[in-house]
Amino acid sequence: MNYIVSVNNVSKNYNLGQVVVPALRGVSLDVAAGEFLAIAGPSGSGKTTLLNLIGCVDTPSAGTVTVDGKQTGQLSERDLTRLRLHTIGFIFQSFNLVSVLSVLQNVELPLLLQRTLNARERRERVIALLDRVGIREYSKHRPSELSGGQRQRVAIARALVTRPKLVLADEPTANLDSVTGTNILNLMKELNQSEKTTFIFSTHDARVWSYASAVVRLADGQIQDRVSAEEAVRAGALPAGRPA
């Protein structure tokens, strides 16, 4: 099987002063291309740590993470950055748009960093994408002039503009009302279907599990199980661990 992400027996510890806090303990996970994978778990279960390791913004304390065939622990800071730029798209819980740039410029930014397309090509791709996520008419606006849902659409467009193989979304609906959250998930799912982009998103919201091709349940830094969306919905609750 062709895995876009392979996490193999990974541990991650954070040092808080003298105390070593284990965030992940021996996690192994393979993600196939084209999946729409949810990582579920209560707060503190290690969802974000796992996303950070997969997203190459952090490297494991033990074990290996392989993204698009590259083992992240062996890459330099520079190469990790390059890997993020060319292979991965990010969608953040609080959108994280550059406040001083317009919608269009925010979406264009990764292309500028890539330096592979010329101005016309960039523009065409950005406009098409804005059209696709339904905020073309806001292209000249600043992020502060948009609603939460609109901002997240901008963020999605930014994540997809480089045509990455993998999009990571950290609690993408946490800051949105349920209707908007549903719309965003629908959009992500559509893009997953049409662009064949692999999506991995973390959530502690049981309502969004139904969209996932599979749900990986985390608790206390360990993978509880990996189930289909239906099973997860049927189980109905988060795995044992700290309450949400």
């Binding site: 707060s43 290690g46 913004v57 994280n96 748009l97 550059v98 990764p110």
Partner: protein, 705 residues
Amino acid sequence: MRGYFDTLKVIVQIALRNLFASRLKTLIVGGIILFGSMLVVVGTAFVDSVDASMSRSVIGSVAGHIQVYSAKSKDELTVMGGMTMEAPDLTPMDDFAALRRTLLGVPNVKAVVPMGLSAASVIAGNTVDVVLERLRALARRKMAGEDVQAAYDSEKDHVRQIITVLAAEMDNIRKIQAEKVIAQDELGAVAKAVSPEFWAGFDRDPYPALEFLENRIAPLASDADMLFLRYLGTDTDAFAKSFDRMKIVDGKPIPRGERGFLFSKWVYEQQVKLKTALRLDRIRDGINKRSQTIARSEELQRFIKQNTTEVKEIMLQLDGQKTANFRRLLQGELASQEGDVAKLLAEFFRVNDGNFARRYRFFYEQLAPMLELYRVRVGDTLTIKSFTRSGYVQSAKLRVYGTFVFEGLEDSHIAGELNLMDLVSFRELYGSLTPEREREVQEIKAVAGIKEVSREQAEAELFGKPDGAEAAPARAGAVDEAEVALRSLAGRQQRAAHASQAYDSAQLEQGDVLNAAVIVKDPRAIGQTIKDIEAAGAKAGIPLRAITWQKASGLVGQFVTMIRAVLYISVLIIFAVALVIINNALVMATLERMPEIGTLRAVGAQRRFLLGMLLVEALAVGLLFGSLGALLGAGIVGVIHAVGIPAANDILYFLFSGPRLHPSLSPANVIMSLGIVLVVSAISSIYPGLLAMRVSPRQAMQSDD
């Protein structure tokens, strides 16, 4: 490449928008930069202009580009603006012709002017002496049977008038101060001189009477008649050619091959002019040039007070006829019935802001023509007495050919304190020994019993061994005699001969010289030329020290260096402050934008992108406000250039090379200002840049994990 440019564009865009987003901070930082760059532009333009004008003053008046003197000299050479009146102790270089040949062998040297600096006190024109001398001459002619009765009587009247003035003055002093102040024999002498019996016998046998007046009365009136003159001995022709700002005001230049003396116009006005007239001039300058008023200026009031109390200076000049004229004119002008001319004069000089202009004009138009306004006139002979290097007094009688100024520096005492004399006379006054002079000195030494004493033995020689206690006074007496003998030789015999004695160019060329001014062809190469000159001197066996005009002009030359240092230190402080503030502002901006920076890192921005972003932010502020500051500074310089900075005092007058400085802007001033601003901006973005580089992309992930 285009991609790179586009990235830069987005960096600039982010940077500019960030700056706009935090406008207040940007404005504060910008304000400091603006002020700093404005200061740099105005300051450097000002200092550069002063530097240029001052170098014109110094180079164009006495110093030339380079001054050369013997490397064996004890002191360092300063040709102007020294704090003391003492000339520096230089070792003479004994063959000017050889020196000149050597110097002209250096490629960049255009001209060489020989020089020597010294100072002497000069006794000039005691009014009483002059009048008595005239009376003696007239008496002689009268005795010889010439018909000079009228002139003789008038001069006699004048002498009586002088004595009356002196007697009245003594009376005043006695009234004010204790009687003991004036010696009894002085009172007796004056009493005798005013008595009618003294004058009744005068015509019969004038010589003993004249002698009495010369010996006993003249000294009583001889106050403040000593001139202290600094002078420069030089080849006056070469001097005038090389220092073309020199212009003759009165009289004419010293003719080639003649001995002579030229007064600096400044010295001539300040020291030689009638004090009363000088004070009137100063009051006029105070009112016209410095907008002072008599009512408010204590200085002007002091001048007026001095003029009203010191009318003696004028009274001594008045003979019978002039006294009558003065009385008539002053009575008319003041509408007064007062008969005492001294009182009329005092009244006349008691001026106020309302009548000053009229009285000033009246003084110069009506009264001054009857007075000797200057104690020494052009054409007079000046007796200069100077201590030679070996310590005895040497004197020279020199004809005063005229007065001169350095154009544009007329009011500057720094440029004006030096008078000029021919080099040959200078050498004699300085004590250079010609062969025949040396022989004479040897003879006198033999007569007086002087012998050479080594330094080690000097004490024993002077104070004697214990058993020869009386030897010392005896020897001291001998030295006095020798001194007298020397003076008589140097004075009487040769003095008479010198006044008209011309010299030939060989004498001028081959004698010794203390220092020389070098004019160069290319002033930018002074540094190299100095090295070349010293090398050429060493090769020719004349050990030379060559110094720039800045060094040669002493404190004055250092002045610009000082202003420059002050300016640079202020600029340094301002930009140090600016650096700290810009740094702080950027650090704060970085900390505030941690999530944004983290996001940029997460989506694939390399660290140098962030460094570039902060650098561009700092540079943009620097460039924008730095340019505005430079523009403002240029505007200010423009305005100052049009208006001019008035030279409020002597030193400024010299530094500005004239009454006003019109500073001008050069591109270098602006480039320097922007250069400093950009460097400071760049430096101040280093630390925040490092901070931003350390921001982890994890900062973007804000979830509660």
